[in-house]
């Protein structure tokens, strides 16, 4: 390799210009979100004030925020929230670590698919409520039981989406991987996983959503006496609608926050998917 063809130097002032990426787009997003949520909560408040729905079921947004504020101020919310959040993140991590490889495997191997599919789908559509007695029987009340419920809720959506993703992988890229010496695990890690990343992320997001519900159910029925589920249960028992809605809002914030975090992660991991949207 001696002589070489030269492309025009890329640093050539003629062809590369520095541009300012306006921060406006970001402000715009934040702005839209703020307006959006403001409108939402305003409508909520108005509907509640109009008493279209009984306030026992549908409190005012302001009362909900007050309950939220007081709950944080008097320390009733934070310990429960932190318990739930910690548990949930551990459970989600376990789910991802199990769900992604198994899902990819099921996508790639017809036999694995054939064997595991019935169980995976059965488990995905099994209400976790039905599992609780069995789980308590086997695992007792320890935190491990609550974790198990979270994992059982989150792992299958992840698995199932990863499985679907593998079938879309461009075969020529797998060939390129093989030609350039990648072993089977390397193919999974370096070709299939990056290619299916949108599926994986979407699966994890669904796992987040289902896992949160699972977490709540575990806390509601698992008798831990802590976590957001406990708050929800107590608020329900005490007809404390503002607190009940405050708990649900916390749940929603957790969900949206985690999903946003996943999106951020995806953008980090895949800056190449800078597809212009219509």
């Amino acid at each position: 390799m001696t002589e070489t063809i030269q492309s025009p130097a890329r640093t050539d002032g003629q062809q590369i210009e520095t541009i300012e990426v306006s921060k406006f787009a970001r402000f715009k997003s934040v702005g839209i979100t703020v307006v959006n949520l403001t409108i939402f909560f305003t409508i909520w408040e108005l509907v509640a004030r109009a008493e279209v729905i009984n306030s026992l079921f549908f409190p005012r947004a302001t009362d909900m925020f007050a309950a939220l504020f007081n709950g944080f101020a008097d320390g009733t919310i934070w310990p429960q929230l932190s318990h739930s959040l910690t548990n949930f993140l551990i459970g989600l991590a376990i789910s991802a670590v199990i769900g992604i490889p198994v899902g990819l495997l099921m996508g790639a191997s017809k036999v694995a698919d054939l064997i595991l599919s019935p169980y995976v789908w059965a488990m995905t559509s099994l209400p976790r409520v039905a599992l609780i007695p069995l789980l308590i029987l086997i695992m007792g009340f320890g935190n491990s039981m609550q974790l198990t419920i979270i994992v059982l809720s989150a792992v299958f959506p992840i698995m199932v989406n990863c499985m679907a993703g593998v079938k879309t992988v461009e075969p020529s890229l797998v060939r390129a991987g093989v030609v350039f010496g990648a072993s089977r695990p390397q193919i999974y890690l370096k070709v299939i996983l990056p290619y299916t990343l949108p599926f994986v992320i979407s699966g994890v997001n669904q796992g987040i959503a289902r896992g949160l519900v699972g977490m709540l159910i575990g806390e509601l029925l698992g008798g831990g006496g802590n976590g957001l589920g406990f708050l929800l249960d107590r608020a329900g028992e005490q007809f404390d609608a503002p607190m009940l809605y405050a708990t649900l809002i916390l749940l929603a914030v957790m969900s949206v926050g985690l999903v946003q975090a996943m999106r951020w992660l995806e953008q980090r991991a895949a800056p190449w998917r800078d597809i212009s949207r219509a």
Binding site: I53, N54, L56, F57, I132, P133, L134, I136, L137, I138, M139, G140, F141, G142, L220, L221, G222, G223, G224, G225, D233, R234, G236, E237, Q238, F239, D240
Partner: protein, 345 residues
């Protein structure tokens, strides 16, 4: 009393003891050997309402547990404590008597019913605004919970008793969930009436409704049960019942209402005025059974009823799944009369 099939090895001891039930008061051991008592206990209750927690919390506060050698009792609030009781993660459970007995029979384990907690059952039809008489019910929609449940059935009885014919005069719908959800439905007008709990009176009345029909029956509806603890440390069971019954004596003394409620609030329970108002009814000595005992005839009828609703299997003899010696010992220690009477079971 002849026991059914008391299968498992663990079940043999208490069952045998029950069969050779002590015939006289002298056979009842009125002392607790605290060296044999477990220091910490995990017990389950199925309801976050303070009524189901107060015995333990009062006993703890007043040092009754210490007296019998128990250092600490952890309460788990769990909708269905039976799996945990069978699985061994709970030492004792407070749950529906009929369900406990049914589970004991069906599971073939050492689960035994020990003592009654609530001996009364409020059968109440709460109705929304504008309904004041039985006649007003005509054409209205009411619910007693899930069809074929006990609640549903006794509500129908209540209607009949008050001259209302179910399904022709009123429309009955099946709903899930607990009584507080039914209360919400009444207040919101989703249904016109529903069977409710005593403690819902104030909330309902504030919303313009009322208790239209109301009766209280003597039904040993729920109570304590234990499983492995009965073989591992029967002494602990006696100790637990002794301490909590002592607390119950205190609680059912209406003079202590404020002290009890203050304690419960201090323990983190929310006790709004309408709950406090229900105190005298809910903590009446024959409702929140002061001595933990029951009348075997009541139990006979209750279980028979429940067999009718299929929530207890056909041919169940509750006596085979009930173990009363700890209760009797506790009653003797506390100087209470034996109930059920010795020999009656």
């Amino acid at each position: 009393a002849c026991g059914g099939g008391g299968g498992g090895g663990g079940a043999a001891a208490p069952n045998a003891a029950n069969k050779s039930a002590p015939a006289s008061a002298e056979d009842i051991d009125a002392t607790i050997d605290t060296s044999k008592v477990k220091h910490t206990l995990v017990v389950g209750v199925d309801n976050p309402y303070y009524l189901f927690h107060e015995d333990i919390l009062v006993a703890q506060e007043k040092g009754y547990f210490k007296e019998v050698g128990i250092d600490n009792v952890e309460i788990k609030t769990i909708e269905d404590p039976l799996p945990a009781l069978i699985g061994g993660s709970l030492d004792m459970a407070l749950y529906d008597s009929d369900t406990t007995i049914a589970a004991a029979k069906k599971s073939n384990t050492g689960v035994r019913f020990l003592s009654v907690y609530l001996g009364g059952e409020a059968n109440i039809l709460g109705v929304g605004k504008g309904i004041n008489t039985a006649a007003d019910l005509k054409g209205k929609t009411i619910t007693g919970g899930q069809f074929n449940s006990r609640n549903d059935a006794i509500l129908r009885e209540l209607l009949v008793k008050n001259g209302v014919t179910p399904d022709t005069d009123v429309k009955i719908v099946s709903t899930g969930g607990q009584s507080n959800e039914r209360l919400q439905s009444v207040i919101a007008g989703v249904v016109d009436g529903a069977s409710l709990q005593l403690r819902h009176r104030e909330v309902l009345e504030k919303a313009g409704g009322k208790f239209l029909f109301e009766e209280t029956r003597r039904v040993p509806q729920n109570g304590w049960a234990a499983n492995k603890l009965l073989t591992e440390s029967p002494e602990t069971v006696t100790a637990f019942l002794t301490a909590t019954l002592k607390a119950r004596q205190f609680i059912t003394n209406q003079a202590n209402k404020d002290a009890v409620l203050a304690l419960m609030v201090q323990k983190g329970f929310d006790v709004p005025p309408e709950f406090a108002d229900a105190y005298s009814a809910e903590n009446a000595p024959d409702y929140h059974v002061a001595d933990g005992g029951f009348d075997p005839a009541d139990m006979d009828k209750f279980i028979q009823d429940q067999i009718g609703f299929k929530s207890v299997p056909e041919g169940t003899d509750w006596r085979a799944y009930t173990y009363l010696e700890p209760l009797w010992r506790a009653q003797k220690i506390l100087g209470l009369p034996f109930r059920p009477a010795l020999g009656n079971v």
